[in-house]
């Protein structure tokens, strides 16, 4: 049975043997599933393979049988990809039980920091802003969905508070105000395609890894505390970054529909920060103090992956080059 949801994406192009095998399995073949060990854990091939496995739990792909979501061979293969990715992350960001310290560090504004939003605000060009938005669309067109997977894995006050935040993300009862919708409206105003998955082929591994980390932690009950850490990182750091994006877009002459997405995030995430700290993390760790290292792992892991993406974008832009894969021009006007 092929159930196709409106806006189901098309399958991307493979990036190596792992993603090639996954794509072939999704088309209904029974390919030989290659050895995962050989592939760099943050590389294009492994990250795309993982991304395609996870997409089955969101919208799937056009022409792909919905039953593939629970195909035992694919799930076993996905587990190998996850072990490689998670293992590399555990090595790169050792966990620590000091969640309070981790959070305090996120709440400090570094006046002389220099990331993508700082660059865009000061001297970024419109094509760079477009590329950034195209990359981020892999998450924002399904904004809040990876974190929704954690709801049944929580109980009591943390669950209630998390749903309060998610309710806001989904538009507080008004689909026109859902953050994914505001993002889609911004894409159209910037001359980009708001079709779900339109920029998957142009997104480098660093973009996929960030979304994969959310899906990984959202889909594994054993990583629910890491998902909360990831969620907290986004909600705690987004207000100042969104404010810089509003300034960047004003400087570049973008219209009000484009500005609305980031303007909304300045205010919304100032509230979400408070809810996540006081009403999600604090009661969760009071009830289950043993979850602290995983909350911290979620914070450090998402910070680490975000930094890798920022580095890649700034590196390319500083050389006057597109940050899209293989110089593909999908997002260029």
């Amino acid at each position: 049975m092929t159930t196709t949801m409106l806006g189901t994406p098309t399958l991307p192009a493979p990036r190596g043997p792992l993603s090639g095998a996954v794509l072939s399995a999704l088309r209904g073949d029974r390919p030989e599933l290659p050895d995962v060990e050989e592939s760099p854990p943050y590389g294009e091939d492994l990250q795309l393979a993982l991304y395609c496995c996870y997409e089955l739990h969101y919208r799937g792909f056009r022409g792909v049988d919905a039953e593939r979501e629970w195909d035992p061979a694919l799930l076993a293969f996905r587990a190998g990809l996850e072990r490689a990715f998670l293992g590399a992350l555990r090595d790169d960001v050792p966990a620590d039980a000091d969640v309070e310290g981790e959070i305090s560090a996120l709440l400090v504004e570094h006046v002389d920091a220099f990331g993508v939003s700082h660059h865009l605000r000061r001297r970024g060009e419109l094509w760079q802003l477009r590329e950034y938005v195209a990359h981020r669309s892999l998450y924002h067109l399904k904004e809040a969905d990876p974190q929704t997977f954690v709801i049944p894995r929580l109980d009591g006050p943390p669950k209630t508070a998390l749903v309060t935040v998610q309710h806001d993300e989904y538009g507080s009862g008004d689909p026109e105000r859902a953050h994914s919708r505001l993002f889609a409206d911004m894409m159209v105003e910037l001359g980009l395609s708001d079709t779900y998955g339109a920029y998957l082929d142009s997104a480098p591994a660093e973009v996929l890894a960030e979304v994969n980390f959310m899906s990984l932690c959202g889909l594994h009950r054993g990583l629910r505390a890491a998902l909360i850490g990831q969620f907290a990182t986004v909600e705690l750091t987004s207000s100042p970054g969104a404010d810089r994006m509003v300034k960047a877009m004003r400087r570049l002459g973008c219209g009000p529909t484009a500005l609305r997405f980031y303007a909304e995030h300045v205010e919304a995430d100032a509230v979400h920060e408070q809810l996540v700290r006081r009403e999600v993390i604090a009661p969760l760790l009071r009830a289950e103090p043993g979850l602290a290292p995983d909350v911290s792992f979620g914070i450090r892991g998402s910070t680490f992956l975000a930094a890798r993406l920022e580095e890649r974008l700034l590196h390319h832009w500083n050389h006057g080059e597109s940050s899209f894969r293989d110089g593909s021009n999908a997002g260029r006007p």
């Binding site: 305090s104 806001d168 507080s172 205010e267 509230v271 408070q274």
Partner: protein, 71 residues
């Protein structure tokens, strides 16, 4: 909410959190509505989006102090 009294949290470091839809009257008489489940009202006076909090109350540092990645 089903309660006659509205829940308000005064945070020590930042905004005042008001639970439920909020209608704020500004000093010049203009009214600002918030339909969020929780609204964060600026209490430090530094917000550029008053009456709402924009996290401007956060500590700002220069150089290596408290070094972490910033978005």
């Amino acid at each position: 909410m089903g309660e006659a009294r509205r829940r308000v949290i005064v945070t020590d470091e930042g905004p005042v959190l008001v639970y439920g839809p909020t209608d704020v009257e500004m000093p010049d008489g203009t009214r600002v509505r918030s339909d969020r489940a929780v609204t964060a009202l600026c209490a430090c006076g530094r917000s550029r989006r008053r009456p709402f909090c924009d996290t401007s109350h956060r500590r700002r540092v220069r150089g290596e102090e408290g070094k972490e990645h910033a978005p």
